[in-house]
Point group: C2
Chain length 504, copies 2
């Protein structure tokens, strides 16, 4: 497995050891900063070795739990393994792993669900205490000790900078041609010393292609040869295709009305199948010279780049199917100039999202008739994944679009409800809501006016009469008519689902 | 009343007319952009003349309603007069007027409650349609036609730029010495042409001291001599003093822990008596060389500047008591260099709030045990004022603090509730909650952990047992334990208040 060409620095070469030896350097109570963002670039073997160590400690009646900080979601080998071992005291800032989610919802793991652009700076500020260990995957080490990043950047710069001890996983599975694709900005400062970030186009390179590390802090180098998670996308279903269609039609009409340039503005596209379908829809659209300034680069966006419809894309991670990854790897020389991977505090930075004028498109769990959006909770109490970067983008975007099928769970759940059971994006930050039924443009509308278009354009026809009925009675209910609610009924749809298995 | 020295430009002098003549240039269906921010710098006579015109039209059975866009809240002569005439079709972005609030809550006026930093750019983008008329108060007109702003800037640059027709009120009551205090930034662009905003310290001047106007668009100049609203502040009561005390103690401990510089970071302080009390508290604190980057400059801040405790303050408006105003006017030469008034898209700009590392302190109506904050709604349905700039600051601040007395309405309402009846600041954006009972530092805590400290530190002792009881039963209620809720009870406190007049 050892690939000598990947670790050129002699000092770091001398620290090569096994995953188990490396994991032995992590102790109970440590905060561990791991690489990894949407299933890309996470450490492949040390987390599992750590999980075994934790299992053994627990079997021996010893306490052993760690804090796990990452870029965003990872993979079963990391979140899954550590959650199953019940070895995570606190997890942040984003997860999407079934085992991890189950622990959180059972009350067995503390979860800090925070904006992805906040993570690095809150750690720099010292808000979360010391970072004891970093475990970071890289694709190689230069002779002078600098690191070639792998398929995601996430918070790696911050982990390497802030951690007391560093464990590097050098993954020879990652293409050596990734070199040169990354742009690590080292100009950040703590206030009051901050300066403008000199990025004005999505493809501007404002930093360096390599991660810096203090070799004295590196306690272990572990060689691996393991693929990223790389789950396949489901081919777009009818609902996703319809959602994509509504969005593209809307963007075309905005161009016609002179409110968007002909090549639009930089696109941000959330994770998942719908987001991917929107990108696929753009492939057949008349738009040209598109750009992206986003978090994750999925299959659909790669297709846009390949076709020439999209000129450049900036992200912090890849999230590709095995087929798309093959495509990328085979043509890296051609893609390298057109894709930039950045630290997530830059890919998601409010300053840049606002300046560039992003068109933000994110999935959601539900919206209420007044335009409040829930991205994170099921029935008010259970976490699904987390807010991720959706708030970074929605709050500062030129246009903020949220999308979902109009129903979930075989039509038993309406994704348009009287009152959202949790709010992640407030009425002040949601401009467009889209379902397969249609699109509601909420700009310039008061809450009462929004209710009409959300119900008419977005709700499933089966649920429309009940929503109209709720709104009508709330208007006459004697409370204020700015955002009319009937408090005894506002959450009754969710309660009914809990009690009967259906909102109908 | 005419003060020749105030209107030096001959073309504009030739357009002087009465308020009634000027109001006659505004028609039914017009969108009217008015100056005014927290009772400062609003037009004093044209709105009332317009209200009379509307009254007459309504009496004659004619339709007459306009859209009213401002900087923020104004005064009875503007919001009150037009609301009483039922002449406002749509109001944005912030109001705090009883008559206006009553119309909104009766369903008779549409209200767009949007972030103050969004207003200008959404108008530039064309999201709200054309701006037909601007009515802007200035304190003078230079020979070359440039305008000397008055006691607030708000959106005046945007209104002058975007409106088809412009009505200027030249108010000779405003001190001529305001000249030179303003900084109007003309470097904004639409995306994709935006550049970094070159401001790195609160007192940087990056623009011009005067507002530009195209004289050809000016249809009327009206001379006035009327004071700003200038309401007095109530002297800090015990609760406000205690809240201020908790905040100052917290800031001191952050300095001790090395998480804040000794002179803190630029302060943002919301409107109202509590915010004012915090500033008064800082006067007796050991902090020196404070700075402010905020929206409104209230009495407490002026005292800090006067004492030398605060070196500079940036805002978009004054909001002073008559006594403080006298103090300011008497010493304007001394204050001029240390106070900058800017357009609200700059005073509240996410890029700048994030870069400067603001300490944001805003009032709220209620928070729930999980840290979601309601700043705008009473019992879920009725608007109080609006979100104002609180979201601009909280979302991008170094530290975001929300404060309220623990109870309202003589103790019948708990301002700490199981579930907020409306969410303006999500759990992801609220770091510190303070009441007279104490301070809850929510950084690094999961929702379950937050519930404990919010109940223990912030809730009134009379309501603590019931809140603990709710949380305990929600944990055992069978739903998820990430944010444990009992959906049938989550809003029952508000419902009880509606039904019985008390949450007890
Ligand atoms: C909201 C989010 C979960 C939707 O994900 P998705 O993959 O597009 O949507 P799906 O329709 O497949 O729904 C995912 C799950 O939520 C469930 N769901 C969807 N709507 C629901 C609702 N209103 N109530 C309850 N469950 C719902 C689905 O049934 C599905 O559950 P399953 O996995 O048990 O089948 C996802 O977009 C997300 O995590 N967003 C927050 C983070 C984010 O926006 N990141 C991107 C920013 S860069
Ligand atoms: C939230 C806000 C209304 C609090 O105002 P305040 O003057 O500090 O607080 P007060 O305690 O005087 O409360 C104002 C009113 O709300 C009522 N109130 C307060 N808490 C309440 C609650 N939990 N439920 C119902 N009513 C409540 C008070 O009784 C009072 O009503 P009254 O005028 O009929 O007596 C005010 O801060 C605000 O409008 N904030 C939003 C905008 C903002 O933050 N701007 C600053 C950013 S720059």
């Amino acid at each position: 497995m050892s690939d000598a060409s990947r670790i050129l620095n002699p000092t770091l070469r001398s620290k090569i050891m096994s995953a188990d030896e490396a994991a032995a350097l992590i102790g109970h109570g440590d905060n561990v900063g791991m690489s990894g963002f949407t299933g890309a670039g996470y450490p492949k073997v040390v987390p599992a070795a750590l999980a075994r160590r934790i299992d053994a400690a627990h079997a021996a009646g010893q306490e052993f739990r760690v804090g796990v900080w990452t870029g965003a979601s990872t993979a079963p080998e990391l979140d899954g393994a550590l959650a199953r071992a019940n070895g995570v005291e606190l997890r942040m800032p984003y997860q999407s792993d079934p085992a991890c989610r189950a622990r959180i919802n059972a009350g067995e793991m503390e979860y800090l669900d925070i904006h992805l652009s906040h993570v690095a700076q809150f750690v720099w500020f010292g808000f979360f205490g010391p970072l004891n260990v970093a475990v970071v995957e890289v694709s190689g080490i230069l002779e002078d000790g600098r690191l070639i990043p792998s398929s995601s950047i996430g918070n790696n710069k911050t982990w390497l900078d802030q951690a007391d001890k560093i464990i590097l996983e050098v993954n020879s599975w990652q293409s050596p041609k990734l070199e040169g694709m990354h742009d690590i900005y080292y100009g950040t400062q703590l206030p009051p010393h901050r300066q403008p970030i000199p990025l004005v186009h999505p493809n501007d390179r404002i930093g360096e292609a390599y991660l810096r590390v203090d070799p004295a802090k590196v306690v272990a180098v572990v060689e691996t040869h393991h693929p990223d998670r790389n789950s396949a996308f489901t081919p777009p279903d009818d609902a996703s295709r319809q959602i994509a269609g509504h969005i593209i039609e809307f963007l075309q009409s905005e161009v016609k009305r002179g409110r968007l340039p002909a090549n639009l503005l930089p696109l941000q596209s959330g994770v998942g199948n719908i987001a991917n379908a929107v990108m696929a829809g753009l492939l057949d659209s008349p738009f040209e010279h598109l750009t992206a300034y986003t978090e994750v680069l999925q299959d659909g966006m790669l297709e846009l780049l390949k076709s020439g419809k999209m000129t450049t894309a900036s992200a912090t991670a890849f999230s590709l199917s095995p087929a798309a990854l093959e495509e990328l790897t085979a043509n890296l020389d051609q893609f390298r100039e057109r894709i930039v991977l950045r630290p997530q505090e830059i890919s998601n930075h409010p300053e840049l999202v606002r300046r560039l004028g992003i068109i933000a498109m994110n999935g959601m769990i539900e919206a209420d008739i007044y335009g409040n959006v829930n991205s994170t909770h099921v029935m008010g109490s259970s976490i699904m994944n987390g807010i991720g970067g959706s708030g970074d983008f929605a709050r500062n975007a030129y246009l903020s679009i949220f999308m979902t099928p109009s129903t979930a769970k075989d039509g038993k759940i309406s994704c348009i409800v009287p009152m959202a059971s949790h709010v992640d994006h407030t009425e002040h930050d949601v401009q467009v809501i889209v379902t397969e039924q249609g699109l509601a443009d909420l700009r310039g509308l008061s809450p009462r006016q929004r209710a009409q278009v959300v119900i008419e354009n977005c709700a499933h026809p089966d649920f429309r009469p009940a929503l109209h009925d709720y709104f009508g009675r709330a208007m006459e209910g004697g409370g204020g008519r700015h955002t009319p609610h009937l408090l005894q009924e506002a959450l009754s749809w969710h309660l009914r689902y809990q009690q009967t298995g259906s909102m109908r």
